[in-house]
Structure formats: C-alpha cells, structure tokens
C-alpha cells in the first residue's frame, strides 16, 4: 500500500516537473530534456509488463495533455516500458535480480544503471523524435536532436537520483 502511494506521488511530481519546468526550458538546437522515463525505470522490478505498459501509457498521456503533443509522449513512454523487461533480462546479474528492489543507481550499481537506462533512454528518445518529425529528409535533424537530448536527459536523471534517492535508506 505504501509503495502504491509512493509511486502515485512520484507520478504526479514527474508530470509536474516535466510540464511546468522542462517543457519551458527552450534550449537551443532543439534540445528537449525528458525526465519522465526515469519514473518508468524506477517502478518496482517485480512489476509485470502489462501493468507497466498501462502505467506508462497513463504517464505519457498526462504529459501530452499539458504540452499539445496529442499522444506523442504516450507512444514513446509505452516503447520505453515495452523494452524495459527486455533490456533488464539482457543485463541481468548472474544470480538474477532480488525482488523488492528498485532499479535505481544505488541498488543496482553505476555500471548496470548506465548501461540499462542509457540504452532505454536512447530507444525512447529516438522513437520520440522519429515520430515527431516523421519525414525521411529530416533524419539528420532527428539524429542531432536525439543525440543532444539523450545526454541532457541522462545527466538530469542521474542528478535527480543523487539528490533525491537517499543512499542509506536504499542500502538497508
């Protein structure tokens, strides 16, 4: 029960931060930092794929409702959720994951987090910008935007964890 409450509060916070702050940064070269994939990343590891997809869809559509993207974020979030179990399986430790842990940087270690989240974020951003442009002759711009935004989103996600996820609580 406490877990559901925690993730619900996180849901609202991630939407608000994305919509009220990150959507309005308007950086140059079309850089668009997206923090909400981190929410999907931090959902419990034991969560099965179908609920994961549904929650991600809800998250994406909530962000769409505030940014006039009409389903673009929902689509990208669902892609992220669909690939999460795949990537997690690919990078599983030798003796499997412990249940009851969260895929954050302290529990799983830097190396694992950088690989897993980096890959997923790359898939997410590529999908987002591909669908947004949807024109073959703008491919170069898609690549540029994806490359630059992924770096910023990743750094931002790292910082958020370093600041807000308390290490002691996680180590138990």
């Amino acid at each position: 029960m406490g877990k559901i409450l925690l993730h619900s509060i996180r849901f609202v916070l991630f939407v608000l931060v994305q919509v009220l702050i990150l959507n309005n940064l308007e950086l140059r070269w079309g850089i668009y930092p997206m923090l909400y994939p981190l929410f999907i990343m931090l959902l419990p590891l034991e969560m099965t794929t179908v609920p994961l997809l549904l929650v991600s869809f809800a998250l994406g559509i909530s962000i769409d409702a505030f940014s006039n993207t009409f389903g673009l974020h929902a689509s990208a979030a669902v892609v992220f959720a669909y690939f999460r179990p795949v990537i997690f399986k690919l990078l599983a430790p030798r003796d499997g994951y412990e249940s009851e842990v969260e895929g954050n940087i302290y529990e799983m270690g830097y190396r694992w987090f950088i690989y897993a989240f980096g890959l997923l974020l790359l898939i997410h951003h590529t999908w987002y910008f591909l669908i947004e442009h949807f024109k073959l002759n703008e491919l170069l711009m898609v690549l540029k935007k994806t490359g630059l935004s992924v770096v910023l989103s990743f750094v931002l996600s790292l910082l958020v964890q370093l600041i807000f996820v308390s290490r002691n609580k996680s180590e138990r």
Binding site: G30, G60, A65, F70, G71, E138, M141
Partner: protein, 294 residues
C-alpha cells in the same frame, strides 16, 4: 501410446500458453501504441478530445497559474511592443493628419463596411523549438472563437486557430509542418505558400514563386488575404535570402519572420464578418474537371 500423445498434448498446450502470454504483452503494447499514434496523427489535423489538449479545464488552469508567475519576466518588453503599436495606430487617426483640402472632404460612412473585427487574447502556453509548435490562448468558444480563424500579434502573423475549447483554444503557429499560409510580396504581388522546415524559429520559406518574378532582398512579405482568414497586408517578415531550386523554375525564398515566437504574450484573433458570404460565393467556382489525356 496413449501416454505419449497426452504428454505431447500438454507440451503443446504449455507452449500455446507460453506463446499466448508472450503474445499478450505484445498485444497490449500494440493496442496502446495504436491508440497513442492514432490520436497523435489525427489530432495534428483535427483534435477531438478536449481532455487531451491544453484547453482542458484542469490542464489550462495549471498552465495559467504557471504563466501568471512567468509572464512578469517579459512585462517590460510586452509594454514596449504595445506602446509602439499604439503609436502606429494613433498616427493613422484623423486628428494626427493635416487636412490638405479644407472643407472638401466628407467621409461617406456607408461606403465602408466593417469586414474584420479582432478579439484580443493572452498566450498562456507556447513552444517554439519542437517540430510542431502550438500555443494555448485564454479565449475560446465563449469569446466567439472558431476553428480556422487567423491569429496575429503586433509584430506579425502568428498562426491559425487549431482547436477551440470552451474557455481556451489552441493556435497552430507558423512553426508547424503543414501551416501553408497564403502570403505575397508587398511589392510586385507575387504570391506563394509560407512553410517551415523545423530548424530555425526565426526563419521560414516561401514556395511557389516563379523565378521570372522580381524578388528584392529585404522586401516585405505580407498576408495575401486569399481565403478570408487574414486581412490583406498583415506583416509576415522580410525576404532574407533567395536562391534557385534545382530543376524547377521557382525561387527558393527564405523569410525572416517579423514575429519573435520566443516571446509572444498578446495576440489578436481575426474574425471575418463576411466569411459566410465568401464561402457562399466560392461555392460557385466550378470544380476542376479532369480532362482525359489524348
């Protein structure tokens, strides 16, 4: 014999279930993806659900609160713009004009009929660095806004009304994929369609101007007023660059927008009082008949 076929049967069953479970995930994924992409691609033509746009009652309220905080950063700039516009309009008033032929002029009011009225609105949310940039303004159905009306600011053309909510509406700005606004060169009158390629929020292109037309650098580009969305002559920008398109007898014209989409606060929505008349008249244009090639 019986046993073997039974275990075979169970094995097949298990595979089927495993396959089904695997497939179920993909099925849910495909369904959600389908919904998301469908709303995305149809909404860029015509949004249906108010809840999913920034005109939703709750969404708009949240954005309005944010705008109430951030709008003050631009206040000085905004005031200056409005001041300039006032000066420009004041200069056109009768009291600022010296009458050359005293007593000779009487204005016959019946020879002028109001065609356009303007509805002022405030921008509460906007972007300029996405591929399709929309803007939310704080006037909607209640103020008489309709889909397809033109939007401009004191600096120039902004876009077209894309979706109307009860109290808010969404503007499809010039910075979108298929904006295609009718524009012309103020001198010479050559006309084409305004387009945006997604790269620079300060520059767009005009397509369709034949390269035997004279196009001067820094000449003004204004609206053509063709489809009754904008009055004729609202500033769009100036010609910054022109070049040849390979293989086509057209100019490749780059326009520098007079509007700065990075800082729009107040806009006007154009209401054409004679729109119905225009539509009725244009109904009589015969549909193009496709002639058979001989």
């Amino acid at each position: 014999m019986n046993r073997i076929s039974l275990s075979h049967y169970f094995c097949g069953m298990r595979n089927l279930i495993a396959f089904y479970l695997r497939f179920r995930i993909f099925l849910v994924f495909a369904a959600l993806q389908g919904v998301a992409l469908y709303t995305y691609f149809t909404s860029s033509e015509f949004p249906k659900l108010q809840l999913l746009t920034t005109t939703g009652a709750f969404n708009a309220e949240v954005l309005k609160v944010r705008n109430d905080v951030t709008k003050h950063f631009n206040l000085e700039n905004t005031n200056k713009q409005l001041e300039w516009e006032n000066i420009r309009l004041r200069e056109k008033l009768r009291q600022s004009v010296y009458r050359v032929e005293k007593g000779a002029i009487s204005i016959d009011d019946t020879s002028f009929k109001q065609q356009y009225t303007y509805i002022p609105g405030t921008v509460i949310n906007s972007t300029f660095d996405k591929r399709d940039n929309y803007m939310t303004i704080d006037i909607g159905q209640i103020s008489g806004i309709e889909r397809g009306m033109g939007v401009f600011s004191s600096r120039g053309v902004v876009g077209v009304i894309h979706y109307v909510g009860t109290d808010y509406s969404i503007v499809k700005t010039v910075l979108t994929k298929n904006i295609n606004i009718d524009v012309m060169l103020e001198k010479g009158g050559a006309f084409g369609l305004l387009k945006w390629n997604g790269e620079d929020a300060r520059r767009g292109t005009i397509s369709g101007i034949s390269n035997d037309m004279v196009v001067k650098k820094w000449s003004k580009v204004v609206t053509r007023g063709g489809s009754g969305i904008f009055p004729r002559g609202i500033l769009v920008g100036r010609v910054e660059k022109k070049g040849f398109i390979e293989g086509k007898p057209l100019w490749d014209i780059t326009v520098r927008f007079s509007e700065d989409f990075r800082s729009i606060q107040h806009v006007y929505v154009v209401k054409n009082l004679m729109m119905q008349e225009l539509i009725d008249v244009e109904k009589h244009i015969p549909a193009p008949v496709e002639e058979e090639d001989l």
